[in-house]
């Protein structure tokens, strides 16, 4: 008994009790909150998807729940490394394939830039571009967030690689660089170019892919 009373464990009984108690409490909170957090994460992407595949008027008319969004991962092997592109296939309620949205990452001026790229059902035209995450310089590089600039990509064909120019000559595949942020502009354009080149071949046989997951179901479940 004496041994026990003097042992470290007995001395630290308060710590042990508190640890157990706090551990339990936290786990409880985890159980309660983690679905919400998960949903937040998914919704972040999901909310953008309609705007990326449908044009503005359509998008506002349709609710997210009315679309069937399925996600899958496209694997591309290049120079011995495998790249993964999460791709969301968007079907209208009636089952017609409206388009695809791909998530892609690349090096920007300061840090990684993460974008969502919308393509039409055939993958031949860009239907939208959204910047999910970036750490470019405010006021310069982060002007890639601005809608007018991003909208330059819409309706560009996915056949020819896009190039950034300082003053446009009216060519189809040209994107006007942001002055003072040519590097960021070019980075985004490069990400778009590589993504298209990488995933285009694997886009079509999508609907029957195995690792497809139904996503909106999950969201609905939460809400």
């Amino acid at each position: 008994m004496k041994f026990l009373r003097n042992s470290n464990l007995a001395q630290a009984w308060l710590v042990l009790v508190l640890a157990t108690f706090f551990g339990t409490a936290l786990a409880g909170i985890q159980v309660k909150l983690s679905p919400v957090i998960e949903a937040n994460k998914i919704r972040e992407t999901m909310e953008k998807i309609p705007n990326l595949v449908l044009d503005a008027s359509q998008a506002s008319a349709i609710k997210t729940q009315d679309l069937i969004i399925q996600s899958r991962v496209i694997e591309v092997e290049k120079n011995g490394i495998t790249k993964f592109y999460p791709v969301y296939d968007v079907q209208l309620k009636d089952g017609t394939l409206a388009g695809h949205v791909a998530k892609a990452k690349g090096q920007g001026y300061a840090d990684k830039i993460e974008v969502l790229l919308g393509l039409d059902a055939k993958g031949s035209t860009i239907t939208g571009l959204f910047i999910l995450d970036q750490k470019e310089t405010p006021g310069l590089g982060n002007r890639i967030l601005e809608k007018p600039w991003r909208d330059q990509f819409v309706d560009k064909s996915s056949d020819a690689a896009l190039v950034v120019v300082k003053s446009g000559t009216g060519q189809d595949n040209e994107i006007d660089g942001i002055s003072g942020a040519t590097i960021s502009s070019r980075s985004v354009t490069n990400i778009v170019n590589t993504t298209i080149a990488d995933i285009k071949p694997q886009l079509l046989p999508a609907s029957k892919n195995e690792n497809t997951k139904k996503l909106n179901g999950k969201i609905k479940e939460i809400e």
Binding site: Y109, L140, G180
Partner: protein, 336 residues
């Protein structure tokens, strides 16, 4: 022994012979003679003289833009020094001309098209955060002009970026297009070497003409106002590193020439890195300082998002200067 008894006639009872002749004896510590050819003010005036060719070229090339920029920066630097020193209740130090040097060097490192407030803010930051906050002349760790320039360059990146250099095109006929280093880095279009050397290219108003910088710089070195070790080691380092890169690439020498004569390398090596206050004390330290600056310039120019790295390189080396001083603390004679 007729003279053996002779005793000096001491009519002088008072200690001071002929007191009226000599009313103002004063006392002072040794040594009692000083080098009269140099003092702080004369060194600063030397720099101003050495800067004249650069100023002349800049005014010739950028006309009213250069005049405006020079005026704004010099005036605001002097004003800022006046205000800040007043705030500290210290004796005024405008007479030593160092604020003027800072102002002119700052102006010469800005693009001509930068709006007025850029010069004003840069000057106040240069004097305030770059100099007075450390205790004023001689105490600052970082080159004040470069602190000011860096501040506005980052604060107003849009106004100071390559784009701003292009805006000026067309307003002044002498120069056109992007700065040579930008052009080479981002669109791979080289400039004429003779243009680089004589200065009819675009850029910050003082950096374009390597020839003018060389003339002024050599004057400084020969006057011993600037130490020779710093420019020599910077230029050598850049020469070697850029030479290797050039050989690894095309081998045409075009790249090398751009690195040497394009951008602000000459201006920086002779006028900025040599600032005695912010560079090491010993000659060994100065060589290390120059080598480090050259190395960083090349790294930044080659790999970073900027076409030019003189400013950053100088600031970084300023930061390690105290450490260099420590490492090169000479062994006193007899200790080795």
């Amino acid at each position: 022994m007729p003279d053996s008894n002779k005793i000096l006639d001491t009519s002088l009872k008072s200690g001071l012979p002929d007191v009226k002749d000599n009313p103002e004896i004063h006392v002072a510590p040794s040594p009692h003679i000083r080098e009269i050819k140099v003092n702080t003010q004369k060194m600063m005036i030397d720099v101003l003289i050495a800067l004249t060719p650069v100023v002349i070229v800049s005014v010739y090339l950028f006309r009213i833009y250069a005049v405006k920029q020079l005026f704004i920066c010099t005036a605001s630097c002097l004003t800022a020094e006046y205000i800040f020193v007043r705030m500290r209740n210290r004796p005024l130090t405008l007479k030593d001309c160092s604020a003027g040097v800072t102002g002119i060097i700052l102006a010469l490192s800005l693009p001509g098209s930068a709006p007025w407030f850029v010069g004003v803010i840069a000057s106040f930051v240069a004097m305030g955060i770059g100099k007075i906050i450390f205790g004023g002349l001689g105490m600052n760790i970082f080159n004040p002009a470069m602190v000011g320039r860096a501040f506005v360059m980052i604060a107003f990146a849009g106004l100071m970026g390559a784009g701003s250099y292009e805006n000026i095109t067309g307003l002044v006929d002498a120069v056109s297009g992007a700065t040579p280093l930008s052009a080479l880095k981002f669109s791979n279009t080289p400039a004429l070497i003779s243009h680089l050397f004589w200065g009819n290219t675009n850029g910050s108003i003082g950096e374009t003409s390597s020839a003018a910088c060389l003339i002024g710089g050599l004057f400084l070195v020969f006057r011993k106002t600037a130490s020779w070790q710093i420019p020599v080691s910077i230029l050598l380092t850049v020469l070697v590193l850029a030479g290797i890169t050039d050989l690894a690439g095309t081998g045409s020498g075009l790249f090398l020439m751009h690195q040497l004569f394009g951008g602000s390398l000459m201006f920086g090596a002779f006028f900025i890195a040599t600032d005695p206050v912010t560079s090491p004390l010993t000659s060994k330290g100065k060589l290390i300082f120059g080598f480090g600056t050259g190395l960083l310039i090349i790294i930044i120019r080659l790999f970073s998002g900027y076409p030019e790295g003189v400013m950053f390189a100088v600031l970084m080396m300023n930061a390690v200067t105290p450490l260099i001083n420590r490492w090169t603390n000479p062994q006193p004679m007899g200790e080795a």
